[in-house]
Amino acid sequence: MKIVFVAAAVLLVGLYPLVVRGPYPQHLMILVLLNALLGTAWNILGGFAGQISLGQATFFGAGAFTSTLLFQHAGVSPWLGLLAGAAVAAGLALVIGYPCFRLSGHYFAIATIAVGEIVGIVVTNWDFAGGAVGLFLPVEGESIGAFKFGDKLGYHYVIATLLGVSLALAAWLRRGRPGYYWRAIREDQAAARSVGVPATRYKQLAIAISAALTAMAGTFYAQYVLFIDPPSVLPLSLSIQICLVAVLGGAGTLLGPVLGALVLVPLSAATSVALGGSGRSLDLVVYGLLIMLIAAFEPAGLVGLARRLRGHPTR
């Protein structure tokens, strides 16, 4: 049953850009996959291990800036940059995690905001990283080795592969020892420690993996859009959006973030197409209203709604 579901999902995602030929629907699907990847990465830290991060943009930006700067200054292939960015972000995550994991609940969440804001301000005032102007990547020179594709197809398969690998990794981690340890830490850290769970080490594991995956998404974004600056890859609003994707879908469940991205990305696109033309942000009015309604009436996220519709209790 599970294999049939996975095969159907792979087939659907694989065939989508071949069947749907319009550049805009293809672009939307790439955004869905990108957001699903970001949500899945957040979910490992926030959903599985229960450490609410509102600073994921730091890791996204670390990936985007590392790979772009390596390419611009040393001619390093963006594919290697993808891995280098992931390594830098994971290292940064461990440095952030070491002190911040002494905190819990809201104190931890606000600490991730504080770190994110500091990084954003520093990069904005750092000329080597493009400062407030940003960094441009060359438009020409299309080849797979240069992470450059003529149409959206290539980008679609790259991000779909990254998402697939991340989901497989998340599923594997969740089923194994880390998954049980994380759940124990999330439910009651003191109790988990008392039965011998090395809480700090496993929280560090969660943030490092989450950061590495988020950074890969950052490199993908830089290569896809070919322009990065602090307001596009490091803002607090991006951190919140990443969290939102996972939470609306269902934090802590494997497919929640995917579901969240599938609903949220088309929803925000549709409201901005239908209502955004006025330039007066009516789309965001509706968006805010919907977030409020889902949080108020379906606190377990869309996965909770789906479970209830199938007749299972939410918790």
Partner: protein, 288 residues
């Protein structure tokens, strides 16, 4: 770097710090009573500033004179938000609570942009104008009035909480809502009161700020982020802590702006937060 410069930076920082403190006090009151962070707090502030603006532009009411109107209007808004939205997420997970208020914030901010355009507005003239010079340190009238009003309001809130029957009932609810309800306190009404009072704090702060600060739809996020940090710095739920946190942040921001660089002054604000909570994981005055 003269003594006068240091004194000037300290005084400016203190003045704006008192306003931060009042905004943070409202936030921490709501959190203390029911453990919910109001992510729409900045948008409440923004609405209060627009209220001052329109009362001034439409009816010619001075923001300082209309202060009780702002306080009452925001109190009503807080109570309304509690009954319409917050009551539904009282027992929900922390994340659902965050997004209920976050969604409210997005809604209010963009509704303001839709209705009133993204323009920056200023009030023009107000009762309080001009500036004072005391021993070479300049103090602008509106800022002095705002700081004074903020200190008085925060003090009144502290008095209400610690010296009155209603305040004791609020604190009892914060301590243990079940035990409080056994003592004949209706927790539901206390929660609504906390939301009303918390919002009334930013109602006052908004009126005070509107005499010298730009009014625009995103103005709330500038102050909300600082208020979150001030609250966490002082310890969630502690009014005294929020006051200390707000003042500390005002001074640090001002000193860093003068002596390092205005562009990176907030680095110091966030760094101070990290240093404090790493030494005291529940803030300066938080319950351990």
């Amino acid at each position: 770097m003269t003594t006068a410069q240091v004194a000037q930076a300290l005084v400016s920082g203190l003045l704006i710090g008192f306003v931060f403190a009042l905004i943070a006090a409202g936030l921490t009151l709501i959190f203390g009573v029911m453990e919910i962070v109001n992510f729409a707090h900045g948008e409440f502030l923004m609405l209060s500033m627009y209220l001052s603006y329109f009362l001034h532009a439409g009816l010619g009411w001075d923001p300082i004179a209309a202060l009780p109107v702002n306080a009452a209007a925001l109190f009503a808004l807080g109570v309304l938000v509690y009954y319409a939205l917050i009551r539904r997420v009282l027992r929900a997970p922390m994340l659902a609570q965050i997004f209920a208020t976050f969604g409210l914030g997005v809604f209010l901010q963009n509704a303001a942009q839709f209705l009133w355009r993204p323009d920056f507005r200023t009030l023009g003239d107000s009762w309080v104008t001009g500036r004072l010079a005391v021993a070479g340190v300049y103090v602008s009238g509106p800022q002095l009035a705002a700081a004074g009003g903020a200190v008085l309001t925060t003090g009144a809130l502290w008095w209400l909480l610690s010296r009155t029957e209603v305040g004791r009932a609020l604190l009892a609810t914060a301590e243990d809502r079940h035990a409080a309800s056994l003592m004949g306190i209706n927790p539901d009404r206390m929660f609504a009161l906390a939301w009303g009072l918390g919002a009334a704090c930013v109602g006052v702060a908004g009126a005070l700020l509107s005499t010298f600060y730009y009014v625009f739809p995103q103005v709330g996020s500038v102050f909300a982020l600082i208020a979150f940090v001030a609250v966490a710095l002082g310890g969630f739920g502690s009014v005294v802590g929020a006051f200390a946190g707000g003042v500390l942040i005002g001074v640090v921001e001002s000193l860093a702006g003068v002596f390092v660089a205005p562009a990176i002054k907030n680095v110091f604000v966030f760094a101070i937060y990290l240093v404090v909570v790493l030494l005291r994981p529940r803030g300066l005055f938080g319950k351990l």
